[in-house]
């Protein structure tokens, strides 16, 4: 037992370097941190629908369904880039509910934006940015996948690409 004491500092050093090396080799981008809400319950939200403003959208209504929540705005250029792919995803996964959250936008501009195609089943209005804040959104577009239990299983900042769809989203939506 006494023999191990002189080796303790070395053991501590190796353990700490091991930890540091583990975190360094993780596939993490410090300027694009993972969502704090990943693997947590979807935040509650209520809003009016963009198209039918009398229709009330409530996050709780979606429990029991697999959903995609996509934050977008007509003034956001990367949103335009991912839009055709979102339409394709909506067509490929008709069993999945796609909810758009129109963030700090003008109704007419948003409607014009959707003229090229509307992948969303419902579109929540987020005029004051409160829904975005509840979801920890800091840059548009942002996409979340929520499972049947209401748990956020995927969060992505930036436009969805074919590579991301094939590598991560497709599997989550097909399960």
């Amino acid at each position: 037992m006494k023999k191990i004491y002189p080796k303790l500092p070395l053991i501590f050093t190796v353990i700490i370097f091991g930890f540091l090396l583990y975190f360094l080799t993780q596939d993490k981008n410090p300027s694009n941190p993972p969502s704090a809400l990943l693997n947590k319950q979807m935040p509650k939200f209520e809003s009016n629908d963009l198209i039918d403003e009398n229709y009330q959208i409530s996050g709780e209504k979606f429990y029991g369904k697999k959903i995609i929540i996509n934050f977008f705005a007509s003034w956001c250029s990367p949103c335009k880039v991912e839009h055709p792919l979102l339409i394709e995803i909506a067509n490929n996964h008709s069993d999945v509910l796609m909810i758009g959250v129109n963030h700090k936008d003008k109704k007419d501009d948003a409607m014009n934006f959707l003229e090229s195609g509307n992948p969303y089943d419902q579109i929540a209005l987020d005029k004051d940015g409160k829904i975005a804040m509840e979801f920890g959104v800091y840059g548009l577009p942002e996409t979340f996948i929520i499972n049947e239990k209401g748990i956020i299983v995927f969060a992505y900042v930036g436009p969805i690409t074919n590579k991301i769809y094939e590598k991560k989203i497709k599997r989550l939506l097909s399960n």
């Binding site: 002189p6 303790l8 500092p9 070395l10 501590f12 050093t13 700490i16 930890f19 540091l20 410090p30 300027s31 941190p33 993972p34 969502s35 704090a36 809400l37 700090k104 940015g129 975005a132 804040m133 509840e134 979801f135 920890g136 800091y138 840059g139």
Partner: protein, 130 residues
């Protein structure tokens, strides 16, 4: 007549005193609110910028955070409660300086452990040699 005038004078004196003191209290409260607002927004990172805090930044994200901080301060929320609210939604990354808590313990303690370990190794070697 003289007594009536004296009463009027006394009432107006007290009213003026109340107005001045309430203004003083409001000003003092606003001062504290502004000070807390500056402190909190300087602690938070503008997540849509590079190396800027929310206080210095004028992006849409920072404006939204500033508004939320101000609203919560007006509701008498403490600094800790507001920062916790932000961390809950945006993660630890939103805090410019990592907080001293369980999750960051390794980060805070590892330099000290490394230095102490290095010293112990050196002392051990020196003893062995002598």
């Amino acid at each position: 007549m003289k007594k009536k005038l004296k009463d009027y004078f006394q009432i107006s004196f007290f009213i003026t005193l109340i107005i001045i003191s309430s203004n003083f209290v409001i000003a003092k409260k606003n001062d504290t609110l502004n000070k807390d607002f500056d402190e909190i927004t300087k602690m938070l990172r503008c997540m849509s910028c590079q190396n800027l805090n929310v206080y210095e930044s004028d992006t849409d994200f920072s404006k939204q955070i500033k508004k939320e901080v101000f609203d919560q301060l007006k509701l008498n929320k403490s600094k800790e409660e507001i920062v916790d609210f932000m961390v809950e939604r945006y993660g630890e990354y939103i805090v410019l300086k990592p907080r001293f808590d369980g999750k960051n313990l390794i980060l805070w303690l590892s330099p000290f452990v490394l230095i102490i370990s290095a010293l112990l190794i050196i002392i051990g070697k020196m003893r062995k040699n002598s």
